[in-house]
């Protein structure tokens, strides 16, 4: 298949893809889809897939076996969706190889095995199996980015196109000026999903305004935080969505230089995005003179290797340029001087993935979702002992309580909620009584908490506040790039004090030293890492002060975690 030469050629191609998609779902064969992503591979999805392949190979079941991406319900992996002719598709969870033959046998006998079903993809329940969208995990979600997650094959551009993909890019490219695209994004009030929540449209506009060329547009898929795994899931499950967003970004900046910087550990995300790029080149959606429009765009994929700091904007750009990924002072901002000293627009993976829907449906449509100042939907992950662990997509503004106890199903049996850490290593926790706060960009901040990239960690009373604070600060200490003194020396000092307290050698004045040292680190550090490194500690100290005091005055750790040794510790 050659490059598509113009819009008509694309429409024809899309019509064929849609036709095939229709035929697949309305045919007289079984359609069996297996979710293959890093999270399900870890639980044996590849074995499940091979087992199904084997069972289908004898020809007793006229079936098509498909690969799909992660649908967010990590807790039910590996999952298999089966559609029998004339029936709605049913999603089965926990489908390890040992259950596969049972399930197929049952289905051939006409039994549905409702006890293994997560739900049926239909408007309402069907033969005793509830509708999938009524599942507690999905009921309150609002899925835009994950709409096709677990439905399309992430490695098939045809699946993406058959379900409406690349229409937003075509609309931008062929019907809108770059200014109109930027205006639409401004109207949507979309704010950056990478942590800081800066308005995307304004960033794009600044990038356009800087009179220097060439310009660069970069996706930040580094995701090195210890508390979140949404970007890689998105890339694994729908890489073309991110690519389409990037293409629209390049068009808005009138540049042919697009990049995606992906953390080297995210092997599958990397592979699938690379494949998406290759497919787009083959079809002529990337390359020179796209669809005869005169617009050209080239996307390069770059990777890093295990340095959290490379997620920071300026560090990331140095990393792409083959230098050590260390931040620099600002100004100039990246939109003025970024990659190769040229104006560079950097946005998070999820930010780019939100763009196609905005272009398709309009900025004001998007702005009506979420709250006034935090529009749209957000991917969130919840870690810790919750029932429905996975990736969810919610409208911003949902109360934290609902997020934890409804969407993520609350704590598993035997665990008692103690707190929820927000903003990863960049902010503090919330206690039970604060959970009515809405999850958005602004409401959490006055409480010392933060939406950040959307990764939350629920912890129970087997976790010690002092020890957990130590973990979070130690993460920043380890990842400090060492360029500036307050962070390089300040974070180890905090860890040392915390270790002293953990070992039972804390002094009452330590709490003042913590506050004093923290202020210095926050005020004087060069980049975001140092500027927020003490936040988790300050938050823990404020919320669980009594535990810190207990450690110091009574040498007691109520969670029974801290070592409380007879001799003072030596700093590691």
């Amino acid at each position: 298949m050659g490059r598509l030469s113009d819009r008509r050629a694309f429409e024809q191609y899309a019509a064929q893809a849609e036709q095939r998609w229709e035929t697949l779902w309305s045919g007289d064969r079984w359609v069996i889809s297996v979710g293959i992503s890093e999270c399900s591979i870890a639980k044996g999805a590849l074995e499940t897939y091979r087992h199904l392949e084997l069972l289908l190979s004898d020809g007793h079941i006229p079936g098509v076996l498909r690969r799909v991406g992660c649908a967010g319900w990590c807790f039910a992996e590996p999952f298999v969706e089966i559609k029998l002719p004339g029936q709605p598709p049913i999603v089965y969870g926990w489908m390890t190889t040992d259950r596969v033959p049972d399930l197929l046998d049952a289905l051939r006998r006409g039994e549905l095995r409702p006890e293994w079903a997560l739900g049926v993809r239909a408007g309402e329940s069907w033969r005793g199996i509830p509708a999938l969208r009524e599942h507690p995990f999905l009921r309150s979600q609002r899925r835009l980015l994950l709409e096709q997650a677990g439905i399309i094959d992430p490695e098939s551009i045809d699946d993406y196109i058959a379900t409406g993909g690349y229409r937003a890019f075509l609309k931008a490219l062929l019907e809108m000026t770059p200014e109109e695209v930027v205006n639409e994004v401004k109207t949507s009030n979309l704010r950056g999903r990478g942590g800081a929540g800066f308005p995307t449209g304004i960033k794009w506009e600044s990038g356009r305004r800087t009179p220097a060329w060439p310009k660069y547009v970069v996706v930040n898929s580094h995701e090195g935080e210890p508390n979140v795994f949404k970007d890689r899931r998105l890339l694994e499950t729908n890489p073309h969505l991110v690519l389409e967003g990037l293409l629209i970004g390049c068009y808005a900046l009138e540049t042919q230089h697009g990049y995606n910087y992906i953390g080297g550990e995210h092997a599958l995300a990397l592979r699938r995005f690379q494949k998406a790029v290759e497919q787009a080149y083959e079809l002529g959606l990337l390359g020179d003179n796209i669809l005869g429009s005169g617009f050209s765009c080239h996307v390069r994929v770059r990777t890093g290797g295990g340095a959290y700091i490379c997620g920071e904007g300026s560090a990331l750009m140095y990393a792409i340029m083959g230098q050590r990924g260390q931040p620099r002072t600002k100004p100039p901002r990246s939109v003025e001087e970024g990659l190769w000293k040229r104006p560079t627009v950097l946005n998070n993976t999820e930010t780019f993935a939100s763009i196609p829907a905005i272009i398709r449906n309009g900025g004001s449509w998007y702005a009506a979702l979420g709250t006034k100042e935090s529009t749209g939907t957000k991917l969130v992950t919840m870690q810790g002992p919750v029932r429905y662990l996975g990736v969810a997509e919610i409208e911003l503004g949902m109360p934290m309580r609902q997020l934890i106890f409804e969407v993520f199903g609350g704590l598993r049996d035997g665990y008692r909620f103690k707190g929820v850490q927000t903003g990863g290593v960049s902010a503090g926790p919330l206690r039970e009584e604060e959970l009515d706060v809405p999850v958005d960009f602004d409401a959490l901040t006055p409480r010392g908490a933060m939406l950040g990239s959307g990764g939350f960690v629920v912890f129970d009373d087997t976790v010690c506040a002092v020890d957990f604070a130590r973990y979070l600060v130690a993460f920043s200490r380890f990842e400090s790039c060492g360029k500036c003194t307050p962070c390089r020396l300040g974070t180890p000092a905090l860890v040392e004090i915390l270790d002293r307290i953990r070992h039972g050698f804390g002094r009452p004045e330590d709490l003042d030293v913590i506050r004093y040292a923290s202020k210095h680190i926050i005020d004087l550090s060069l980049c975001g890492l140092g500027q927020v490194a003490p936040m988790p500690l300050l938050g823990m100290l404020e919320r669980f002060r009594e535990e810190f005091i207990e450690h110091i005055t009574e040498r007691r750790c109520r969670a029974g975690v801290c070592p409380m040794t007879a001799v003072a510790p030596i700093a590691l």
Partner: protein
Amino acid sequence: MKPTKAGQTVDLEPLRRVLEERFRPRDYREAQELVVGACQEAQRLFGWVPPEAAQLIAEHLGVTTNRIYGLLTFYADFRTEPPGRHFLWICHGAACYVAGAGRLVEFLHERYGITGQGTTPDGALTVHVFNGCLGVCDLAPVAQLDHHEYVGLLSLERLQALIAELQGEAQTEAADGSTE
């Protein structure tokens, strides 16, 4: 992954081929952008980045070896020494931490003196404490073995058993190797 044993001569041919096929910068800028990727290729091929490979990459891309080592020592994932026969990532992300990974990491330190990464004295196993989330928090605390297999819901006992098993395996492998 095929780890190269220390002292063994490194066959650079596969790396040379990959470089010539896939690392063909059009200008100096692009050459610099490709350095990290080339090092990753080398590590994929050899299990670490041997000095000879660093040299070859430097020559191929027209940068200094200094520059290469600047990067190799900056990123946690690169190894400038050959790893053990097996490679284990212990996840030290937040989910794994609240599920008890801290005890596992402490154990590695006490038993083998490993803080960030290190190899057991018998060369059987390189352990790397992964400062981030492996993305399969459902299995916390979790480890990833030889870059593909996950071992989840680790307790201290399970980790010890796993290490013992890998050490035993490595011994047999070593014995097999010497009879070849």
